[in-house]
């Protein structure tokens, strides 16, 4: 197995890249999930115009590949006078995609909260805002948690797309080591295993969370 011989020398560079990948994924989720919640609440608005507008935004956001959104922010925006660094472009692009996808996940969660609870809150004299804040959102979020973790795994995987905008994340680091050593297979396999080392335990966590939450509902 001479493919393994060079792995110790690749590790420091790749670990640095992994750190960038994790940071970009976390930042994107931190911005994107609240955005998704806003969209999910908006999609339940009483005004038809608002509902249609939000559903349109969500459909376009989900219909466009994350790679294209990334190209728009990094290569496209400078043409209109706004230049983003590769980190900023990656975070904004992945956060946009996150908002579009998580809005659907959260909408499902919010809808799973029984109507009777909303009526009970109304009967107790709570207004619509407090009902959302104290009754619907906390319970809806709980229902949505397994799907949200599942999506977080996908967003972590999607950080590899930022290779195309020269963000020094895990795949970029692996590729640049590959192009200087001509040992692409070895370094790319190691990078792949590093992605798997995070995503596989995380997906076990998702299915465990699903089972535990299912007991309470």
């Amino acid at each position: 197995m001479n493919i393994l011989n060079d792995w110790p020398s690749y590790l420091p560079g790749l670990l640095g890249g992994l750190g960038v990948s994790v940071q970009v994924a976390l930042l994107s989720l931190l911005i994107g999930v609240p955005g998704g919640l806003l969209l999910a609440i908006g999609a339940g608005s009483k005004k038809k115009f608002v509902r249609i507008l939000i559903i349109g935004i969500v459909e376009i956001g989900r219909g466009t590949p994350a790679l294209v959104v990334l190209q728009i922010f990094y290569f496209g925006l400078p043409a209109s006078g706004m230049t983003l660094t590769s980190t900023a472009a990656s975070v904004v692009a992945l956060a946009t995609t996150t908002a579009a996808y998580t809005s659907e996940i959260l909408r499902g969660g919010l809808q799973a909260v029984p109507q009777g609870e909303v009526e009970a809150a109304g009967a107790l004299g709570m207004n619509r805002r407090d009902t959302l804040r104290f009754i619907v959102i906390p319970q809806g979020f709980r229902v949505a948690i397994p799907s949200l973790i599942g999506f977080a795994i996908l967003i972590f995987q999607a950080t590899s797309l930022a290779y195309t905008v020269a963000l020094p994340e895990l795949l970029s680091q692996a590729y640049s080591i590959g192009s200087s050593t001509f040992n692409y297979l070895s370094v790319l396999v190691l990078a792949g295993l590093m992605y798997a080392a995070i995503t596989i335990p995380a997906s076990w966590l998702t299915s465990r969370a699903e089972k535990r939450l299912a007991r309470h509902l």
């Binding site: 459909e59 376009i60 219909g63 466009t64 590949p65 994350a66 790679l67 294209v68 959104v69 190209q71 728009i72 290569f75 496209g76 925006l77 400078p78 043409a79 209109s80 995987q157 999607a158 590899s160 797309l161 290779y163 195309t164 795949l171 692996a174 590729y175 590959g178 001509f182 692409y184 297979l185 070895s186 790319l188 396999v189 990078a191 792949g192 295993l193 992605y195 798997a196 995503t199 596989i200 997906s203």
Partner: protein
């Protein structure tokens, strides 16, 4: 308009790549799904590990491993072949999970009825369970296919001339760097939204034909 037409040139490649990968997945997912349900722990372990590893590594990384990694030793791996193999392998894992969901949706009574008629396990699976699993798997497979249309955009990174490839090309050549990407996004949205409609209609029809 010219830009739009140029980007449209990538559509056949995007569709071809998606269909090829999905076809590989639809076939390759069957042994993986059956392996996951096998009575032999060794087979189960191999099937589960394959599914987890295929799904756990990002698509673009798979394409790089196949094209840049294996491609140096195997010259027949041109960009398109590499992309089809890579996305096809990933599809096998996702389709296996979809079939697994389909299998568990089929009631035990169907197996028992088959056995009561004196059919062997193999023929119950082929003639009774299999066709029904395919039908209940259609909606999930279709939403996976819609995702795959978008995922196939990563093939641009190894030089497959699909939609994003032409959009990038146009963006570099013209003074308008932003427009081509918006047009590409538009093409994807136009491609995926009708797919979702057709799926919903098909789902309603096929569901009626599964015994409960």
């Amino acid at each position: 308009m010219d830009t739009f037409l140029t980007i449209l040139q990538g559509v056949p490649m995007t569709i071809g790549l998606t269909v090829a990968a999905l076809a590989i997945g639809a076939v390759g997912g069957i042994p993986l799904a059956l392996g996951r349900r096998s009575n032999i722990p060794g087979i189960r372990f191999v099937a589960v590990s394959l599914i987890e590893v295929l799904r756990g590594i990002p698509p673009i990384v798979w394409l790089f491993i196949i094209y840049f990694g294996l491609g140096t030793a195997l010259p027949m791996l041109d960009p398109l072949t590499s992309a089809i193999i890579g996305l096809g392998l990933i599809s096998c894992a996702y389709m296996a999970e979809i079939y697994r969901g389909g299998l568990s949706a089929i009631t035990r009574g169907q197996w028992e009825a088959g056995e009561a008629l004196g059919m062997g396990r193999q023929s119950v699976l082929t003639f009774i369970i299999g066709p029904q699993v395919f039908r209940v798997s259609v909606p999930a497979a279709a939403s996976y296919a819609i995702g795959l249309i978008k995922d196939s955009s990563v093939a641009y990174t190894i030089g497959v001339s699909e939609i994003v490839y032409f959009a990038n090309d146009q963006s570099r050549q013209s003074s308008d760097a932003l427009g081509p990407f918006f047009l590409a996004a538009l093409v994807y949205v136009i491609m995926t939204i009708p797919c979702a409609w057709v799926t919903r209609a098909l789902d309603a029809r096929l569901r009626k034909r599964v015994a409960r």
